[in-house]
Symmetry: C2
Subunit: 286 residues, 2 copies
């Protein structure tokens, strides 16, 4: 694909910083402008090669950019777009990288000036660590990116955005914003809640006995609490539904235990093992 | 400590094999006899250096051994001890490495001939992988081992067993068998059930969207279903109690979501993050 002339990345944290690194490394952007509200973070983004230039002002940052990436907490998107909007060029494409889509797409589409296009994106990559110091040009390689076009999305903008994610080594899936949120509630948002609840379920006396299983199972619970409150609140109904589905499965395990039904318990455990083994094999392309 | 003269390891899988490797590597055993019921596994244990000699017969394997390690599934301990018992030397120490202790200690103590001592042990190390091919001499390094003596445990045997685990680089904790089972239910057995339930909570359409968080959170659910049925069934009451405690925490998260209470949700998430961060720092000795 033709590289973007100038990409403004608003929010140069783990995802924004990794995206800057990856776009520059793969020649998908002629120039990357890192935009943020802390000079220290922007300096670090420059130093690590995640941006060519930086700006503290979203309006200044988007001027001359044909691609604008919203990579802050989604709760800030409205504010940022209101400030940056007068600087958006005709033909500019705006994308985000947030973890929920229905709210975000509705908000951002409504704020696009004539001639600019919004395409909701969710690259399913990342870690519980934050900040550009953990950014990596390979973060997206082999992972999946969901794009969530609507009837308002211009075909050309959509195709260029898809080509960009493909160019970063990602598998791209198209879903409606609502479907994205429903499915992500089941695999990602639910996972976070369950891990967070598990951390609190152990009593203080059990603390010295945590092992590698506990550490892995709870890893995502070390993610940023403000970021996850935003994600979960912006998809609250779907997440609560997914949680209730999970609670029904837990109750089936509990009943097998309470009834001393080892055959039933083994069959539930074997079903989980077999499904997980299959999904991980598929994910790892084996 | 004076090394054991001969250690019989009954069951040369991941844990038994790693123990053989580690005891030999660190000079804690003059000789290791690998005992199992499949010649192929025993040959592999020999090839990898997890044993000096092997036997298909527990009775033969324990003859001349001053330490006997039960490292099969705990459901087999009774059978194995009944067969091996006539071969146990006066002064021999028998330990196990099972994940539950109350049932195991009761069963094994009752089967000790005069002059032989049983010490329940649970090295909290391992992985969802099985078999001697994944064994490692470093598996125990830095991890915790719980020993569960009772009023029947001879002091000298207990001290020698503790010195052995310390010699493998482990931190040793003493708990009663019942307390072990109650605390492990909260951190390990509960973790397994929750991971297994989470695997089943996602619908089929969500499968392509699993990411690194889901993969880590569910990792332990790929453990062997028969082994985990045994662990969970032999500690069923404590695990069911721990599961109910977990369900109450989950309900608190769900209520915050359903009520749209972002402040409460953030505070629950922050509490989990802060506790996990603290426990992982402590575990990693930072």
């Amino acid at each position: 694909m033709t590289p973007w002339n100038q990409v403004a990345i608003i929010g140069t944290g783990l995802i924004g910083g990794s995206l800057g690194l990856a776009l520059r490394r793969r020649g998908l952007a002629m120039r990357v402008v890192g935009v943020g509200h802390r000079q220290g973070t922007l300096d670090e983004a420059l130093r690590r090669g995640a941006a060519d230039t930086t700006s503290l002002d979203p309006l200044e940052g988007v001027r001359g950019s044909d691609l604008v990436v919203l990579a802050t907490a989604p709760s800030l998107f409205r504010d940022i777009l209101q400030r940056a909007r007068p600087g958006l060029e005709p033909g500019a494409v705006v994308i985000d990288v947030g973890s929920t889509k229905a709210d975000v797409v509705r908000t951002c589409e409504a704020l696009m000036p004539d001639g600019a296009a919004f395409v909701g994106c969710h690259p399913i990559a990342g870690s519980e660590r934050r900040g550009v110091t953990h950014a990596s040009a390979d973060l997206f390689e082999g992972a999946t990116c969901v794009v969530t076009p609507t009837e308002k999305t211009p075909q050309e903008a959509l195709e260029r955005v898809i080509a960009t994610w493909l160019g970063l080594g990602m598998t791209v899936r198209r879903l409606s914003p609502d479907e994205h949120d429903r499915l992500l509630a089941e695999v990602s948002h639910l996972t976070h809640l369950v891990a967070a609840a598990l951390v609190q379920a152990a009593g203080d006396k059990a603390e010295p006995l945590i092992g590698p299983g506990w550490a892995d199972t709870t890893r995502v619970a070390s993610g940023d609490a403000d970021l996850w409150r935003d994600i979960l609140m912006s998809n609250a109904a779907e997440v609560a539904n997914a949680l209730e589905g999970f609670e029904r499965v837990v109750a089936a395990f509990r009943e097998a235990l309470r009834q001393g039904d080892g055959v039933r318990l083994q069959s539930l455990l074997a079903e989980s093992k077999s499904r997980r083994d299959r999904l991980i094999r598929k994910k790892e392309g084996r």
